[in-house]
Every structure is written in C-alpha cells, then in structure tokens.
Amino acid sequence: MTVPIWSKSEDQGGKTHTMDFPENLPSPDIGRLEQIVSHFFPKALHIVLDSRIPSLQSRGRTRDRSSGGLNVKKSDKWFNLIMGDRPAALDKLHSWHRNILDSMIIDIILIHPTDDDDDHGNVRSAETVIERWVVQYENPLIMSPQTSDPSTRYQKVYKKAIILLRSLYAQTRLLPAYRVSRQLSSSLASSRYEMVYKVSSFSDVFSPPVTETMKEFRFSPVEVPPGRLCASVTYRSDLSDFNLGAHITLPPRIITDYVGSPATDPMRFFPSPGQSFEATSFHFQGRAGRPPLTTSSASERPHSWTSGFHRPPTPNQSFSPDFHWSRTDGGDSHHQLSPPFSPSGSPSTPRGSYSPRINVRPGTAPVTIPSSATFNRYVSSNFSEPSRNPLPPFSPKSTRRSPSSQDSLPGIALYKSSRSGESPSGLINHYPGHKLTKDSKYDSGRFSGLLSSSGSPRFGFSRSPSRLSSDLEDPDCSCPFDFDDVDESVLQYSQSLDRRKTSSSISQSLPIGRKSQDAAVGVLVQMLKTAPPLRQDSSTYMASSMSGVQREGSSVSGAESEFSMARSTSDALEELRNYKQLKDLLLSKSKSVGGATRVH
C-alpha cells in the first residue's frame, strides 16, 4: 500500500496529542494511526476550503498531470489525493488544532446584502452560514475489542480514510455552495457578495438553526482505534433566497476576436442557411451561448462601424443567415460571422445560395455604390440625351444587387481608406466627426484601395458594371438618395467640386450623418469630378472619364478639362437646377443630423 509517510517529521504543526492509544498495539501502529488522524484534519480542511474560497485554492494542482506524482510533495500525497500546494493560510489555520480530540468546524459564510438600509442609505450586509463542515475524532470511553490483525490494521484504516476523503471531495462539488463560490470567484470584485470561512473547534459559538432549508449529510465514520473519524456537513440546500444571480455581475470579458477590430480577421462569413448554425462561429454575442438566428439579435452587438446597422432589418429582408462573403482568395466558407451588415453589398459569390438584398431603409444600410465606369456611362448617356431623365445613374436602387468584387467604388474609397490594410469595415462610418482620411486612391474612385490589400473584398460594394442595367428596375429601393435625391446631391457637389481640386476637402465637406449619405455623397463626388464639362464632347468625355477612373491620383482639374464638349443651354440649365436642388438637400440633411461640416 502506498502510504506516503510514516515518519514523525511529517507531522505538521507540531501538534501534541493527548489521545491514549491502546497499549496493546505495536508502537509503530500507534504512531501510524495517530498520524492518519492528525493528517486527516488538515486534508479535510484543505479539500473544503479549496472548493469554497478562491483565495485559498491550490496552485499547481492541474499541472504536471503527465508526470503523475513525480513532482508532488510528500505532504500532498497523504490519502493519495493530490491537492496541490497547500496555501500557507491553511497551515496557519490548522496550527491551532493541536488536540486531535478537538472537533474541527468549518463554517462557510456568505456575506450578502440585505434589504435594509442604514441611516446613510448604504445597504447593509448580513452573514449567513450556508455550510458547516464538522470533522472530529471521537474517542469512545470504552474501546471495542479489536478483532482484526493489528499489523494490517493501519492499512485498512488508511484505505477507509482514503475512501472517506474521496467522498468528502466529491461532496464538496455536489453541494450548492460550490456553484456559488464559482460564481463569486468569477464575478467582479465589486460584488456585494462574498464567501468567507471560519474555522473553530467548538460549535457553541454559532449554531446554525437546522431549518427546513438546512440538510445534513453524515459520512460514515472510519474506525481508527481507539476511536473513529467522523465527518458531516450541514448545508443549505436552497440558495436562491440570496438572489445571487441578480446581483452578481459578470466580469468584463475581453473579446479577442472582436468583429471589426484590426487585429481580427476582417472577413467574416455568414453561414449559409443550409449550414449548421452553431454557437461557436457567431461572435456577435461574444460567444455567450448559442447564437440567435434572428436578425435583430444579430444586430444587437455594436461595432464601431456599424452604428447604423443596429436597427433590425425589416422582415422581408434577408439578413445574416443568407449572407455570404466571398473571398477573392477562395478561402473556405467557415469564417466567423461577419459584422451585422444588412445584406446590401454582398459580393456575388459562386455559391449563390442566396439572393442578397440591400437593406435600403434610410440611414440603416450602406448603399452599394456603382463603379465609376457604370456611373460615367449613365452620366454620359444623360448628358447626351437631354430628353431622358437627367438623373444620376448610381442611385442605390440600381446598385443593390450582388456586386462582384474588386470593382472600384468611389463611395467606399472615402471611408477609412487608411485602414485599407486592416479590417474592412468598408461600411461607411456615419459617426459625426469620423475621420475620413484621404487616400491617394480616392481620386480615381477606386475601391481597390480597400479591397486589394488583403486580397479580399470587404463588402459587397463593388459590383460589375454589367449588372447595373438589371438593377435599375428594382422597386424595393427606398434609400434616401433615391433618384431625385441623388440628383440633388450631385448638383450640390458638382458646385463644390468646381472649387476644389482635391478629394480630401471634398471628403471633409461631406455631411457626416448617415452611411447612405456618405456613400452617396462619395459617389456624387466622383461623379462630379468626372462629370463632363458643359462644353465637352460626349465621346471625348467617355474616353477621358474612363481613363480618369482607371488612373490613380488623377486630379479634378484634369478631368474637368476634358469635359469640353458642347452642350446645349437647356441641358446646362437643367443641370444647374439639379445641382442646386442637390445642394439644398445635402444642406438640409446635414443640418438635420447636426453635421459637423458644411457644404459650400
């Protein structure tokens, strides 16, 4: 039998024993039995307090599992139960227990707030004993005759003591106080609940009333001649009275994979409806439990760049479960969920298992911005055919469908282009005063600045020009920058662009209010920059504007100089009118949202 130590040097605490062991026992047995009893107390104390008081939890208990008991102290091997390093506090606690005939009473006390307030309005605290563990060595006055072989008696006694401590250990995990102590140890320090202990040697100081809520469990005693080791526990079976759940706050958890942070993978992936929607991939909830499959809950989690997306989309709009992000690198489809975008701008994916729709409610969705090429196509067509509705072609209505990646998106270029190498957050940040840093790629309206760095599209804002025509007729669009609105916005910005040569000022002059506004404004800017001058030939304009789009860092003045085709006066007047309307609209909207910038 693996009995760890049978030397008196292991007798911790230097206790003096007054127990009278039977003299007919061989002296080594007397010593061993005595040691069993004397070591039983600190071991029991360790087991109980380790499971209840976090500050007394042993360290090193879970380590070195592979090495087994190689690195275990001799003292820890008692009763074949490795508990880890015993805290010094426990040794001190037990040092007073010099007489093994004294009972050891361990009270687990819960400090909890009461409903009464003192004169100063502070909440009082009360102490309630929720558990009482009693370990004692009973020494009967009359010793029962020992029938078993004395030489093997201590082995049997030791074996039984081991079993007793096993069951005591298991019991500490089963009782309600264990869960409470776990909760308290994980909660904030400011919690008004606290679990403390008290060790005493006699119970008349505090005797918890055995009420209906208190139950008792008595462990079977272990006969240790001449007496026997006894252990029992009296505990409150119901701790719901303390309202622990309502008062304990969870500690702040650092979500390392916060969606949208630069440190995390910017590309998230919404699983398809056919896929399992288990919890782990849904980081909106901070990994708390299973992910709700509802759009509203998915949009609850705030992101720094999605403040406009927090409104749950209308029921008729598909949301996250239908979302696919396609990666240009052809990555696997098991990315974590992407930010709670509205489905707008989902890049066209080869999977094609879903039809993305833009959440075009005002102020809630990013507007898919068409490429400059498509935009310019419309612009030129408008100018060349005055009879047609001279509306800018890039209304969100027309740009809603799933675009392909890698197309230039002037609107997006305005947004956080400095973070092109970081998280995509390609969504327009509509926070007032949000920094819209200038990027050299702005001028060309190229979205690739945001897209190319990681080789993966951020948002589905890019789209293929060929899709534009099919999107014009979609009636679901209700973005603020509808045809008419956009028209006005274009008018506004065309005037402002005439005075500005760089897109930085343009970007700064954008009314920052809503994402859709920013997106549309960005488009407007680009449109205006590349808009043909009144006297420019249409064909020349097309060619030059295309090249202007492709060319990076093109200046506005250069673009303007190419717009020298002749225009009719009526067209010009119409255009001017539209621009004025746009300007007014933008001004009104910037005022309404308290925009920090003004459109000049």
Binding site: M1, T2, R61, T62, R65, G68, G69, V72, K77, N80, L81, I82, T152, Q155, K156, K159, K160, I162, I163, L164, R166, S167, Y169, A170, Q171, R173, L174, Y178, R179, F217, F219, S220, V222, G274, Q275, S276, F277, E278, R290
Partner: protein, 243 residues
C-alpha cells in the same frame, strides 16, 4: 424517447467461496429524454458522470482529481484523472449508445463491476488468472419512443434542438427533472461508497485504480445470476488481467 435509469450497487460476489456478504441498493430512478442527437448526448453525459464518480471512489491509488462540469446540467463531478480510465469509460459508453440506437424500446443495463485478479492453480476449467468480482453497480435504462410527434425534418442541421413551443418546454422540464435526479444519484453513490468499505480489497503498490469492467448484456431479460455466470466463464478465458 425516455430512458429509465436505475443504479444498483451490489457489493460482494454471489459465489459462495467469497467471504463477503452481498447486498444491493437501488439508487434512483431517472428519466432521460432521448431524441436524436440530444438523447445520445444526454446519455453520454449522465453515464460519464455516474461511472466516473463511482470509479473515483474506487481509485485509491495516488491520483490527482479532476473536476468536470457537465454541459447539460449544473453539476460538477470528479474524475480520478487517469487517462486510461477516461478512455475506457468513453469507449464503453459509445458502444452502449450505439447498442441502444440499434435496440430501441428495450430495457438495457450497463454494469460497472470491480474485480480482483487472483491467480489460481490451473485446473480443468479455469486458467491461472481469475477475476473475483467484489462490487457491482447496475445501471438500468429503458428507452422508448414517445407517441406522436412528427419527427420533422426538423432540421438535421441544428444539433442542439430548440423545439418550438411546447416541445421546448417539455424538454426543459424533463431536463430539470433529470438534473435533479442525477444529483440525487450522485448523493446516493457517495452514501453507498461510504457505507461499506470492508469489502474493498487492499490497495496494491503501483495500482492507481481498482480494476473494473463495464458490460451491457445484449439480452434484456437476463438475470443477474446469468450475467455473473457469463462473466465467470468469460474471465476464465481472458489472458489479460486488466482489460
């Protein structure tokens, strides 16, 4: 599907040559709800909890206990920390669950038996090595299909079933009941392992846990005696002492 769970502890073998007197306890009755993947998981969790708790009290060698939190219930149980034990229990549970899946609506029993290995003189019917069973724990389960309930194409996608409406309420209430029952079972186990300790064989050096085996008879109406006889016959042919 419901499963009925009872745990009986029987200490001391039935054979006359053993000195110890056998006794039997019935621990508790449980109701396990079993339903597709949820049921298997519940069975696994419950069985793992019960078996490990029992083995922990019989692993009397030097161990480093490991606390395990159940996922389905608010219960923490203790494992003895030995990897071989964990693997053995998991393997047996998997076999049992597979067997249950093939034999629904049948009462089944899973037995955890501790034995001692004794060497005997080779005789005409036994080999040298013999197992002496000194404690047996019986876990009875019965599973049956619930009436009605459209199986539903309820998504094969969602493993953790969130049944709408009453079904979820039923599941949660049954699960609560199951949790309480499981807790009661664990209390009973602790009580039983405490009551009788004399029959536990002495601890040998180097042996961490008492050798045990987990069996589940394929026949639903086999008696305990038949099981014992079967085991004795089988043990005669086992070359290995610790399986």
């Amino acid at each position: 599907m419901f499963s009925l769970l009872t745990v009986m502890a029987d200490s001391g073998p039935k054979k006359a040559q053993y000195e110890r007197d056998p006794y039997t306890h019935t621990v508790a009755h449980e109701a396990l709800e079993t339903k597709s993947e949820v049921e298997s998981f519940e069975i696994r969790e419950v069985l793992r909890c019960i078996l490990h708790t029992i083995v922990f009290h019989r692993a009397l060698g030097l161990i480093r206990p490991k606390d395990i939190d159940l996922e389905l219930f608010d219960i923490t149980y203790v494992q003895c920390g030995e990897i071989e034990v964990e693997k053995k229990i998991d393997d047996k549970i998997e076999q049992f669950v597979t067997w249950i899946g093939k034999h629904p609506n049948k009462k089944s029993q899973i037995c955890l038996t501790f034995y001692e290995v004794k060497t005997k003189q080779p005789s005409w019917f036994t080999n040298k090595i013999e197992r002496l069973y000194w404690e047996q724990w019986n876990i009875n389960l019965s599973a049956f299909q619930p009436p009605t309930k459209p199986p539903v194409g309820k998504s094969h996608h969602s493993k953790l079933v969130m049944d709408p409406g009453e079904e979820s309420e039923d599941i949660s209430s049954r699960r609560t009941l199951l949790e309480q029952s499981l807790q009661e079972v664990l209390f009973q186990i602790i009580k039983f392992v405490n009551e009788k300790k004399d029959h536990v064989p002495p601890i040998n050096d180097g042996v961490i846990y008492c050798p045990f085996e987990i069996t589940f008879p394929s026949s639903s109406d086999s008696t305990f005696g038949m099981d014992m006889l079967k085991r004795m016959l089988h043990s005669g042919g086992h070359p290995s002492m610790l399986s």
